[in-house]
């Protein structure tokens, strides 16, 4: 089902854990979608000095978390912001089609953690760590059904024809 790179990251995930005095924290997903991911960052001189993750999810969600943290570690914040979900999936040499949904979490969680760090630095206060439950896409990006990962029609982005599901989330 999964290729060797994915299985390697699933079986021996890198950077699992928490950073107690993290400089930035990002949380994405919810159990309804199947996955939840929390990312902890330690930043020094605008560079990701350390990164850890905690993930509730399937094999690909764990592999995505592991690969993403490996890719982000040591990068400058600006470089890390450029890291996309597709970059992570590509580094894993692909995921099964119905699992591409899981790969959407990795870079999103990283970006949220960076946002959290930058907000803290700028003294923007929030009640808790940044959370994202919505399934959002960058501008001009093709939209996929979060449930079955079939491309959504541009005309009716709130309904998936393939799984006949209403998508209440913003798209």
């Amino acid at each position: 089902m999964y290729n060797e790179v994915v299985m390697d990251h699933f079986k021996s995930p890198r950077n699992v854990g928490e950073i107690p005095d993290a400089d930035g924290i990002g949380e994405v997903g919810n159990p309804l979608c199947g996955d939840m991911m929390t990312i902890y960052l330690k930043v020094k001189d605008d560079r990701i000095e350390d990164i850890k993750f905690k993930t509730f999810g399937c094999g690909s969600a764990i592999a995505v978390s592991s690969m993403m943290t490996e890719m982000a570690k040591g990068k400058s914040l600006e470089e890390a912001k450029q890291l996309s979900n597709k970059d992570v999936a590509d580094a894993l040499q692909g995921l099964p089609k119905n699992k591409m949904h899981c790969s959407n979490l990795g870079a999103d969680a990283l970006h949220m953690a960076i946002q959290d760090y930058e907000d803290k630095k700028a003294n923007v206060t929030r009640a808790g760590p940044p959370r994202q439950e919505k399934h959002e896409h960058a501008k001009n990006e093709q939209c996929y059904c979060p449930y079955c990962d079939v491309e959504l029609s541009q005309d009716a982005p709130s309904f998936c024809e393939a799984c006949q599901r209403e998508l209440s989330e913003e798209h």
């Binding site: 699933f10 159990p31 199947g34 996955d35 939840m36 991911m37 993930t55 509730f56 119905n98």
Partner: protein
């Protein structure tokens, strides 16, 4: 190392005696049972003998009430669509439950799109349908009730006999999907009060690609496949004689060894239930232990996801199945588990452990040892899991 199969709900191995019969059948090159020369007649006699054997297994009054099909799914489609279409003049209402197999759900969905009305009944927290609810749901338009005998995810057995009494009294046809029960637990179509019962060969250690449908004499039903006059005009198509002979052997062995098999399987399941708390904590058993198949246990491991557990067990040569949303093509939580009132998060951590004839107590302990380590590893990784506070001594 050989893989320990704790996923018998997905597939059973062929029994050696069944293999032998099938290999022999392949080598004999039986002719078409519909041919009227000697070679054909010889093949027909064997099919009819198999029909008698299977009729005995289900306590059918006449062998003619048994129709061989290609699998449980075909039997279910035949029972539901065939009965609905043949009785359309009497009404358009069908009663079912929320925890049926997709073969039932989707057959009914198809019928709904053709004008039939379906009432789907909930189950209680123990996973069972209340027969009183069935009675309440039946209207003067009701032509069919379809409630499964045992559930393929939880193993929970439904009160079929009680429902059968109601359907007989109300003169409504009653179908039960007994695919995962037949040949494992004693079934008596007279006692159950069913008119239609779907079953299959592989769950009783016969070959895949063969199933059967019990159709009570006098039941109005259309064939699913139109064509020749095979299977007493109820199922067209040249018979799968190799499969049917394998099925016959499996049914014969099921009758001979049912009691000892029940003891063996439920012994292993009981051991698993008893030992689980010594290995892991914070889990939910979704199987109704009082009314369930002897070989299946459905467990939700909290704070972790089932596919990860399944994959890690697989790396340790243990095969189980999972009902987590991530492991399904649709990425949706199991309708059966949600019907039990489970939260999405708990449903995500669901494993289906199904023991088989070849399993031993050692297999159960091997599984528990591995499971303990895997649960620890995944919980340490889970953002949902908060370690219990260390007891201050």
């Amino acid at each position: 190392m050989a893989v320990i199969n704790l996923d018998h709900i997905s597939a059973n191995p062929l029994l050696p005696e069944v293999k032998e019969v099938m290999i022999d059948a392949i080598q004999r090159d039986y002719h078409n049972p519909s041919s009227q020369h000697k070679a054909g007649e010889q093949a027909m006699e064997l099919i009819e003998r198999a029909r008698q054997t299977v009729a005995r297994l289900l306590k059918a009054k006449e062998p003619k009430e048994i129709v061989f099909t290609s699998n449980g799914t075909e039997s279910i489609n035949h029972a539901i669509k065939g009965a609905a279409l043949a009785n359309k003049d009497k009404g358009n209402h069908i009663v079912t439950s929320n925890i049926e197999h997709n073969a039932v759900i989707r057959s009914l969905k198809r019928l709904s799109s053709q004008g039939f009305k379906v009432t789907s009944l909930p189950v209680d927290a123990s996973g069972r349908v209340d027969p009183k609810e069935v009675e309440k749901a039946i209207t003067d338009q009701t032509i069919l009730v379809s409630i499964m005998h045992s559930n393929n995810e939880t193993g929970t057995i439904q009160p079929i006999e009680e429902i059968g009494k109601i359907t007989r009294e109300r003169k409504v046809l009653f179908h039960t999907d007994a695919v995962d029960s037949a040949g494992i637990v004693p079934l008596d179509v007279q006692q159950l009060g069913v008119d239609l019962l779907s079953f299959a060969s592989n769950p009783m250690y016969g070959p895949r690609g063969v199933g059967g449908l019990y159709i009570r004499k006098g039941t109005k039903i259309f064939p699913l496949l139109d064509g020749g006059v095979q299977e007493n005009n109820k199922r067209a198509g040249t018979e799968n004689i190799i499969g049917i002979l394998g099925f016959e052997k499996a049914a014969e062995l099921a009758m001979q060894h049912m009691d000892e098999r029940l003891r063996h399987l439920s012994g292993l399941k009981d051991l698993l239930v008893r030992e689980l708390p010594n290995y892991i904590d914070e889990y939910i058993i979704n199987t109704n232990l009082e009314h369930s198949l002897p070989y299946l246990l459905n467990i939700s491991l909290q704070y972790i996801e089932g596919e990860s557990v399944m994959l890690m067990l697989s790396e340790e040569d243990l095969a189980v199945s999972t009902k987590s949303a991530c492991a399904t093509g649709s990425l949706r939580a199991s309708h059966v588990l949600l019907s039990l009132g489970l939260s999405h998060a708990d449903a995500q951590g669901t494993l289906v452990v199904s023991v088989g004839l070849e399993n031993t107590e050692d297999d159960i302990y091997r599984f528990l040892e591995s499971l303990k380590n895997i649960v620890d590893t995944l919980r340490a990784m889970s953002p949902l899991y908060k370690k219990p506070q260390e007891a201050s001594s």
